[in-house]
Structures are given as structure tokens and as C-alpha cells.
């Protein structure tokens, strides 16, 4: 229990506190500026904090993550451009509110609700993760393997219009992760006898390319999007408003944590699902949904911030990322010599509690920065894309170079940037690629361990799965994802919803 004291590490060290604050501040703006995404910022930051100690590096990244998930809502409300993907649902009712001159109120509600959702997410993380980790110690290698597959499939299926494209992306990621020397047998894999490929492909180069360069190139399609300025009134919402929406916010927060905690799904999807949930359960919204209903802000904003805490649960306890950003955070922990998973929770519980503390602090900072500094904010957000895009590209290059001081990584990054650019155009989700790269090693190791322990016998392997409740549940989940995408299921669903 004394490890829980590590919760206060961040409060006791002014330097760490400052970094969390700085990160949150930066995150709010990164999230808010259309064209800068949290995934992009955290990918680039990893390479810069490479030489730091682990605690300061994590403090900064947690701040950015928390602030960034929130920050996107502001531009969604003020400009009708979601600054970050997790704020797409926020724009649906936030912008109509701003058009009615209620931008201040919308921002206020959003901020308080994000804080609330964030808090619930962290609470669930703190209470649940230790138990999940204990439970995870009993997991067999095959369970890890199934979990990894499930995570990649979930990102692929929930995110994309096309499951096949999602599966392709995930498999591509696993393939990229396998390039180089096999760490167990020193056999070369996917190297094509090219010496350069023997060390494998730096996952940071893949990440920055896919989320930095390809995104920036995409932005070139609309360089000249004019911003419309809104008048901003009162910001701090009344207690009555908050109280009135408390029941809904508890529901959507819980939904957010749950979706965040599923391996492979994060705030983007949580927000959209919560908005849908609010639409179904709210009998008398303040206005019609889509015309500026406050409920339409409460739902996505609580959910996406609650998903942050949720996403840390599988990341810390199983080493399986909840979404693209946590996938990158796992990468950061790897770089600093930590190996997220149940053993981390057993051997270094301090690290877990430190992260919880940093999340709590970041949540408070988010509340403070959310309710202040609007004037400065409108200035910064109006930064023209013609300046922003070259800066993102420059930072991407510096980031890719900095990790190994190698120009090769820069070329990899550019290659993946251009490839990712086409993938986006043709509807292939990029999230599964990163998840695949991060999980490749885990998948490979656990498959080999599992099949060796069954003496290379596939029959025994499947027998093991169906006789263990946990493995069976995971296998059924994997199968369900496939079934839910087949024509048979769609026919069944259609029949079900048709009036009798």
C-alpha cells in the first residue's frame, strides 16, 4: 500500500509539476489547432525526450495527452473545425451554440464536463488496474496473443468503413514490426538481404511519418480555410447547468472509460458513441440535437476524457495499448527501459501510481487552462496553415533524425509519410498500423511460447483455448468481430429492426 504514496511524487517535485502543467497547456493548443493532433505531438515528442529521465518525459507526455483530448473541442465550437478527431461530435452542437452567441457557455460546459469525465476515468483506472494486473498474472501466452489480435481487429473494425482495410493495416503493422533480426534465433526476417534492414525499422520513424507528415500533406488540400471569429461571453457555467446534466455525464463517462479500456479503441470512438447514446436516452434536450443542445456537448466531452483513464488500464496492466496515443506511450516506456504489463505493476508499482498522480494533475491543469486564456487562444488558433504546415514538417524531420542521429530514419519517415498519405486517401485506417508495429513482438513471442508449450500441436492449442474460460471469451470476441461484418449479420440486423 505504501506504493500509493508514489501518487504524490508529482506534487512533491516542482519540476515534474511544471512539466505536467506545460504539457497540458501545450496539449490544449496542439489539440485546438486544426492540423496538429495529439498523436502527432506525442510521436514527435518521444524522440525529443529520448535523452531525458523517464519521469519528466512521462509527465510531459501525459499533460499533452490530457490537454490535447480536451483542446480539440474549442476549435470545434468556435470554428466548426474539430481541432482533434475526438472533438468531431462536439462540433455538431457546439458550433450551433456559438452561432447563437453562446460560445462562452459552450466552452465552459465542455471544460467542466471534460474535467468530470477525466476524473471518472482516472478513478476507475486507480481502482481497477491493480486488480486487472493481478488477474493478468494468470494469463497464458495464448491469451496475450488473442488480446493483441483483438486489439488490432477492434481498431480496424470500429474505425473504418471497411473491416478488410482495417485488417490489412493491422497486418502491415505486424509485418513492419517483424523486419530485422529475430531476437530469439537471429534469423533475418523481411530483410531482402539489405544490410540497412537488419536492425529493423524504427517505429518512431513509422509513427512520425504516418501521423506527422501524411497529416501535414493532407492539410495542403485546404490551406486557405478562413476562420470565422466568434464573440465570447461568460465562460464558467452555472452550478445548475452542471447539476442538471450530472446523470447523463455519469452514463457517458462510464461509457467512455469502458470504450477507452477496450484494447484498440480510444477517445475518438468513445465520443461518437456517447453522442449517439445521449441522442437515444435524452427525452427533452435543451434544444434539438444538432441545433445546439447542451447534452450534445456533455456526452462526447465527458466520454473522450474518461477514455484517457480507460486507455491506460490495458496499457499498464497488459502492455496492450488502448488507442494510437497509448500505443505511442508504450513505445516511450520501451525506450526508457520499462516494459508495461503485469510485471511492471508488480515490480514497479510506483511507476503506476506516479502516472495516476500525473493524470490527476493534468486534469486539474486542463480545468484551469480551459476556463482561462481565451483571448490568447483565439490569436494562436488563427495561425495560418501556410506557416503551420512547414513547421510540422520541419519538426517531423528533426524528430525522426533525433532518435538515432540517422538520416536513414528520416527517409523511412518520409516514405511512410507518403505511403500513409495514400492510405488516408483510399480509406485505410492508420491506427491499426501503429498498434500492429507496437504489438508485433508481443504477438510473435506469445504465439511461439504458446505453441511450444503445446508441443507444436495445433489440436492441443485449440483444446487449450476452449477449455480455458478466459481464452474462450477472447476467441469468441475475435470471431464476433468477423461475424458482425459479414452479409449474414447485416441481413439478420435488418430483419430485426424492420417493423412488424
Amino acid at each position: 500500500m505504501e506504493h500509493v504514496l508514489a501518487l504524490f511524487t508529482v506534487f512533491a517535485h516542482p519540476q515534474l509539476l511544471l512539466l505536467v502543467g506545460l504539457g497540458t497547456f501545450a496539449g490544449v493548443y496542439v489539440g485546438a489547432i486544426p492540423g496538429l493532433s495529439v498523436t502527432m505531438a506525442v510521436s514527435i515528442l518521444i524522440s525529443f525526450t529520448f535523452s531525458w529521465d523517464v519521469l519528466p518525459a512521462i509527465s510531459l507526455m501525459i499533460g499533452i495527452y490530457m490537454g490535447g483530448v480536451y483542446g480539440g473541442s474549442r476549435t470545434a465550437i468556435l470554428l466548426n473545425i474539430p481541432g482533434a478527431p475526438s472533438a468531431i461530435a462536439t462540433a455538431l452542437d457546439g458550433y450551433p451554440m456559438a452561432q447563437r452567441g453562446e460560445a462562452g457557455e459552450a466552452i465552459g460546459v465542455t471544460t467542466v464536463m471534460s474535467f468530470f469525465g477525466g476524473f471518472i476515468g482516472i478513478l476507475v483506472l486507480a481502482l481497477l488496474a491493480p486488480f486487472v494486473a493481478d488477474f493478468a498474472l494468470t494469463f497464458q501466452p495464448r491469451d496475450y496473443m488473442l488480446l493483441a489480435v483483438l486489439g488490432i481487429l477492434l481498431v480496424g473494425s470500429l474505425s473504418s468503413g471497411s473491416l478488410v482495410k482495417g485488417i490489412f493495416s493491422g497486418a502491415l503493422g505486424i509485418g513492419i514490426g517483424a523486419v530485422g533480426m529475430d531476437p530469439l534465433t537471429f534469423t533475418e526476417r523481411f530483410t531482402f538481404d539489405i544490410p540497412l534492414l537488419q536492425q529493423g525499422i524504427s517505429f518512431i520513424a513509422v509513427m512520425i511519418g504516418m501521423f506527422g507528415v501524411s497529416e501535414a500533406l493532407m492539410q495542403l488540400h485546404h490551406v486557405e480555410k478562413a476562420a470565422v471569429r466568434q464573440k465570447i461571453s461568460r465562460i464558467v457555467p452555472s452550478f445548475g447547468t452542471i447539476k442538471k446534466h450530472l446523470p447523463l455525464s455519469i452514463q457517458t463517462s462510464s461509457l467512455g472509460v469502458l470504450i477507452g479500456a477496450l484494447p484498440g479503441t480510444g477517445g475518438d470512438i468513445a465520443a461518437l458513441m456517447a453522442y449517439d447514446h445521449a441522442k437515444r436516452v435524452t427525452k427533452n434536450p435543451s434544444r434539438k440535437f444538432g441545433d445546439g443542445a447542451i447534452e450534445g456537448l456533455v456526452a462526447p466531452e465527458t466520454a473522450n476524457n474518461a477514455a484517457v483513464g480507460g486507455a491506460f488500464i490495458p496499457m499498464m496492466t497488459l502492455g496492450i495499448p488502448g488507442d494510437a496515443v497509448t500505443a505511442i506511450m508504450i513505445g516511450a516506456l520501451f525506450i526508457h527501459g520499462l516494459n508495461p504489463g503485469p510485471m511492471l505493476m508488480v515490480e514497479q508499482p510506483n511507476m503506476f501510481w506516479f502516472i495516476v498522480g500525473a493524470l490527476i494533475m493534468a486534469n486539474f491543469f486542463m480545468l484551469i487552462f480551459g476556463l482561462t486564456g481565451i483571448k490568447l487562444f483565439t490569436k494562436i488558433v488563427e495561425m495560418p496553415r501556410s506557416v503551420l504546415i512547414p513547421l510540422i514538417l520541419l519538426l517531423s524531420i528533426v524528430g525522426a533524425y533525433a532518435v538515432n542521429n540517422s538520416i536513414t530514419d528520416v527517409y523511412w519517415m518520409l516514405g511512410f509519410g507518403i505511403f500513409g498519405y495514400f492510405m488516408r486517401h483510399y480509406g485505410y485506417p492508420l491506427g491499426p498500423v501503429i498498434l500492429g508495429v507496437i504489438l508485433s513482438r508481443l504477438l510473435d513471442d506469445n504465439w511461439r511460447r504458446a505453441i511450444i508449450s503445446e508441443r507444436e500441436d495445433l489440436g492441443r492449442f485449440f483444446y487449450g483455448i476452449v477449455t480455458s474460460p478466459l481464452s474462450l471469451v477472447l476467441l469468441v470476441a475475435v470471431i464476433l468481430i468477423f461475424v458482425s461484418q459479414t452479409p449474414l449479420w447485416t441481413m439478420f440486423r435488418k430483419k430485426d429492426t424492420q417493423p412488424k
Binding site: S37, F48, P85, I88, S159, G161, S162, V164, I167, F168, A171, I174, G175, A178, L184, T185, T187, E188, R189, F190, V213, L217, M218, L220, H221, H222, V223, K225, D268, I269, S386, V387, I389, P390, L391, L393, L394, I397, V398, A402, I407, V410, Y411, L414, I418, Y421, F422, M423, R424, H425, Y426, G427, Y428, L430, S440, L443, R448, I451, E456, L458
Partner: protein, 190 residues
């Protein structure tokens, strides 16, 4: 979405995992070629993966690579099958919607940056890159371009070289000597 504004349709951009891009039900320009490349690429990978250990053992180092490459090949083939059946998106062209000239120019700038970085060094290469790309994108005066480029490069340099201590190739500018001279100056003054 009306016909006139489809060029700004951000829903086709794939800006997030919740909203991947693409035009549902339509085949975008270049999509067929892209898909065919993916199929060929997957087949090559599968062949390579087979070469790692063949069908020697289920736990061989080649097992997962073969499995993933097979999944890639199958899914890419399925996508190809779907793509072939879709009608072409008549309102789109390659140069307007997929790779507009600006994207090509900026991509070439990036390659040039990579080539020049080591011989020229970080500061001159970055300055050239910022000047050229900001000028082209903003279409503003040289005064604006130079002020913004120099200002932001200075900011980036200070933050990353000094705070994050990232080492970039110095090239033709004796950075270390200059930094040391500045440090000496301050040390002498204190």
C-alpha cells in the same frame, strides 16, 4: 455536400481513426493502382516470409511473418475485388483531389531537405526549407516570409537544441564554437 465544394470535403481525408478517408462506394483516382501495388507487395512479402523457415515448424521464426503476409495478401485481394466493382468517382481527378501540385512540390522539398541535411547542416537547410515552403503556401511578401521563417527557426533551435539537447548535423555553420563563445561571454560577464 454540393458539387462545387467537394474539393474541400475533409470527410475524404482520413483525419482520424473515427473518420477514415476515402469515398464510400466510389473508386477514387489511383485507387486501383494503389490496391494492385498492395497485392503485389503482399505477395512478395509472403514469398520472402516463406523463405525464412518454410513450413519447418509452427514455432519457427517464419511463422508469424508468413501468417501476417498471408493475411495481407488475402485482405488486399478482397479489397481489390471490391475496388474493381465500384464505379469511378467521376467528380475527381488525380491532380486535383489526390496529389495536387502543392503536395508534390512539398514532398520534393522534403526529399531535398533529406539530401541537403548532412552536407549543409541543420540551420541553413531548415531556413531554406521554411523560406521556400512558407513563400509558396502563403503567397505573402518576402518580408513576411523571412521574418516568420527566421523567427520560428530561432524558436525551434532554442527549444530543441538547448532545452531538449537534440543534436542535429552542424554542416557548414560552426554551431558548437558559437554556442561556446556565447557561454564564455556570459561566464565572463558574471
Amino acid at each position: 455536400m454540393t458539387e462545387s465544394e467537394h474539393h474541400h470535403d475533409s470527410s475524404r481525408d482520413g483525419s482520424s481513426d473515427a473518420t477514415p478517408g476515402g469515398a464510400a462506394g466510389k473508386r477514387r483516382p489511383g485507387e486501383l493502382v494503389f490496391t494492385i501495388i498492395l497485392v503485389i507487395f503482399s505477395a512478395v512479402l509472403l514469398w520472402n516470409a516463406y523463405g525464412i523457415a518454410g513450413f519447418e515448424a509452427l514455432s519457427s521464426p517464419g511463422a508469424i511473418p508468413m501468417g501476417t503476409a498471408a493475411v495481407m495478401l488475402i485482405s488486399a485481394a478482397m479489397v481489390l475485388n471490391q475496388t474493381l466493382r465500384k464505379p469511378r468517382a467521376e467528380d475527381e481527378t488525380m491532380l486535383q483531389d489526390i496529389v495536387p501540385p502543392l503536395v508534390i512540390v512539398l514532398a520534393l522539398f522534403l526529399v531535398a531537405y533529406g539530401v541537403l541535411l548532412e552536407p549543409l547542416g541543420f540551420l541553413p537547410t531548415s531556413l531554406l526549407f521554411l523560406l521556400a515552403s512558407i513563400k509558396i503556401l502563403s503567397k505573402r511578401s518576402w518580408g513576411f516570409t523571412i521574418t516568420v521563417s527566421v523567427g520560428s527557426l530561432l524558436g525551434i533551435y532554442l527549444v530543441f537544441r538547448i532545452v531538449f539537447t537534440v543534436l542535429m548535423p552542424t554542416g557548414i555553420i560552426p554551431e558548437a564554437e558559437i554556442l561556446q563563445a556565447i557561454r564564455n561571454l556570459f561566464a565572463g560577464g558574471a
